[in-house]
């Protein structure tokens, strides 16, 4: 069995704000972390490895410092990590990202299950998983919280807003993982020691035989043309005082919103 985990390094998003004066993203002092959903994806892969044996390869597309996140993944128990890094990958939207990941995965070859997070907490699109599955021609399931391999197929349970669907996917397959898969385990001491020494190869556009029209900004049909702070919300009419008086005032205001 070979499992591939797609992992993205993201800023701690609750710290990313817009500078109201310049209208630019404030990034100073914002730590980079492994996308939390990708830790769940990695945990899912580790569970698969515990149950069925095999090897876990983690890949990430990002700038050189993404290597840190990959080392951390090895500490958690991944066997190998590959960094996809090239100036030409910069500015990728989900279409270009999924193409780049697909090229790398084709080069790795011989995989059984690809694990992605449900979504990245910065871009927040949740699109890379399904797009990647399409590019590789794989069956896939999103929002997976439970899975097992049975008679050569992958049986998954996944949450939709109105219920739980059980799907049978032909292998190889791709899944995107939600938090209900279970808390990620703690990295082990051996894992950390291995991570410190691990050699993490860097694959550039050339190495994955990428068509330069399909990567980075060139391969990205979407453009972010503006970023701004969400409109300040909240009228902030705050009542203090006796509860029965406060609720009277509140009900007067709410009359306009719902029928009271």
């Amino acid at each position: 069995m070979k499992y591939i985990v797609c992992l993205k390094q993201v800023p701690e998003t609750d710290k990313v704000k817009i500078n109201p004066e310049t209208g630019t993203l404030i990034r100073e002092g914002v730590k980079s972390i492994i996308n939390p959903y990708d830790l769940y994806a990695l945990e899912a892969a580790l569970k698969a490895k515990d149950a069925y044996g095999g090897k876990i390869v983690v890949i990430s597309m990002g700038p050189p410092q993404t290597e840190e996140a990959l080392r951390e993944a090895i500490a958690y128990g991944a066997d190998e990590a590959i960094l996809l890094s090239d100036r030409a990958f910069a500015g990728a939207d989900t279409l270009a990202t999924s193409y780049t990941l697909a090229q790398a995965i084709k080069k790795i070859g011989d995989y059984n299950i690809i694990f992605c997070g449900k979504q990245a907490i910065d871009g927040d699109t949740a699109q890379v998983g399904p797009e990647l599955a399409y590019r590789l021609g794989l069956p896939y399931a999103t929002y997976v919280h439970k899975f097992e391999i049975k008679d050569g197929s992958l049986i998954v349970e996944r949450d939709l807003d109105d219920g739980t669907q059980v799907l049978k996917l032909n292998l190889p397959a791709l899944v995107t993982i939600v938090k209900e898969i279970g808390e990620p385990r703690v990295p082990s001491i051996r894992g950390k020691m291995k991570a410190k020494k691990a050699k993490i190869p860097i694959w550039t556009a050339g190495e994955i035989e990428a068509d330069e029209e399909k990567i980075g900004l060139n391969g990205s049909p979407t453009r972010v043309v503006n970023v701004f702070s969400p409109p300040a919300r909240g009228k902030k009419e705050i009542f203090t005082g006796k509860p029965d008086e406060c609720v009277k005032q509140l009900c007067e205001r709410l009359g306009e919103v719902i029928s009271i």
């Binding site: 703690v186 894992g191 020691m193 410190k196």
Partner: protein
């Protein structure tokens, strides 16, 4: 940095800390309340390689020493002294095998302990033999290729939960303490059963119980070392384990201090945070100073042990004595600083105070530690 650590030591500390923060702290009150054995947490610790820190690599461990082990015990105890006791007691059960076992015994028993698949335990104490360990009555009689054990061990940590037990029993009653020997007994050996499970004041996440041997038959290759070496093995084991109690005390006291400072900065009385009252601030200052002194002693002695000295009984006893008395005082003061809240189960410090008490009792009471130290001193000044 006060205690510079190499990368690997830093990693051990980080892993243990993460388990304490994320897995132990959220569950400790419940474990304490229900006297529940923390299997889930132990599995996570096993998965994280914490059980094999001081066991050599050829026996499935990480090949570090007493110092690295202490770093881990300290952090786990910061989370919960009950879990830390369970963890440290498995090490206590492993030391006799590591120090005195033959190659076959080490190959067979150490790897599962190092991987945390099996817990170990150490059984010396009996109803009539506490501080006076020489008064044990459990016997082991040779019968061809077997030994037959009879007797009862009391208050044994990990009783019933461990798979591997090192037991001190008399092979020659006439010789008294010189007639004691050490054996490996496995859960499931015929005639080996478990008696009463104790209800305790503190460290309630740990299991303490009776081991009952009724014509318990074990193969003769379970003997550790030679016949008659039982007390040498027991005392050496305790020498190695006592600095672990020191680390446990330091971790526990640090947790109490952390809670006390947090509370003192946030609790307001007379219009200000109580940390502004000198009476409170000085208590905190004393607590911090005592902890640091205990930590320094613990680390120093552990590092000394790792140089493989011939005899370090005195220092091991000093660590255990000083650090456990310190933890008792610091946790009691932490309760005082939290006032009424300190006495309530909604806050963690009352548990810490209850937990701290055992550190002055087990692995030799602090009176006995003083005896050991005094005896060594008197030898030195002969």
């Amino acid at each position: 940095m006060l205690y510079p650590l190499i990368d690997e030591q830093e990693m051990i500390k980080e892993v243990a800390r993460k388990i304490a923060e994320e897995r132990i702290v959220p569950k400790r009150a419940e474990l304490d309340e229900k006297e529940e054995f923390p299997w889930d947490i132990l599995k996570e610790m096993a998965q994280a390689d914490l059980f094999g820190i001081f066991i050599p690599e050829e026996y499935g461990g990480l090949g570090f020493g007493a110092f690295e082990n202490c770093l881990a015990v300290e952090q786990i105890a910061w989370g919960c002294a009950g879990v830390a006791t369970t963890y440290a007691a498995s090490g206590l059960g492993a030391y006799p095998i590591l120090l005195f076992g033959n190659e076959e015994q080490k190959k067979k028993y150490l790897p599962p302990i190092a991987r945390g698949e099996k817990l170990a335990a150490f059984g010396l104490t009996e109803p009539d033999a506490g501080s006076d360990a020489g008064a044990i009555k459990t016997t082991a009689v040779k019968d061809g290729d077997y030994y037959i054990l009879n007797g009862t061990k009391q208050w044994i940590t990990n009783a019933g939960e461990a798979e591997i037990y090192t037991i001190i029993a008399l092979t020659d009653k006439k010789k008294g303490p010189r007639g004691a020997s050490a054996f490996i007994v496995e859960k499931g050996d015929p005639g080996f059963s478990f008696g009463k499970r104790e209800k305790k004041m503190g460290i309630r996440a740990s299991a303490t119980g009776e081991l009952i041997f009724e014509d318990c038959r074990i193969p003769k290759d379970r003997l550790l070392g030679r016949e008659g070496m039982g007390f040498i093995i027991a005392l050496k084991t305790l020498d190695y384990a006592r600095p672990g109690v020191g680390a446990l005390a330091v971790g526990l006291a640090q947790a109490a201090l952390d809670e006390a400072i947090k509370y003192a900065k946030q609790r307001k009385q007379f219009g200000q945070a109580i940390i502004n009252f000198q009476a409170v601030a000085h208590m905190l200052a004393d607590m911090a100073t005592q902890i640091e002194a205990a930590r320094a002693l613990t680390y120093t002695v552990c590092k000394y042990i790792d140089t493989k000295p011939k005899d370090f009984s005195k220092y091991a006893a000093m660590v255990k004595l000083f650090a456990s008395d310190m933890a008792m005082k610091v946790t009691t003061d932490a309760v005082q600083i939290l006032g009424g809240c300190g006495y309530m189960k909604d806050f963690p410090v009352e548990k810490m105070m209850r937990d701290a008490k055992i550190l002055q009792i087990y692995e030799g009471t602090n009176q006995i530690q003083r005896n050991v130290i005094a005896r060594e001193l008197s030898k030195e000044y002969k």
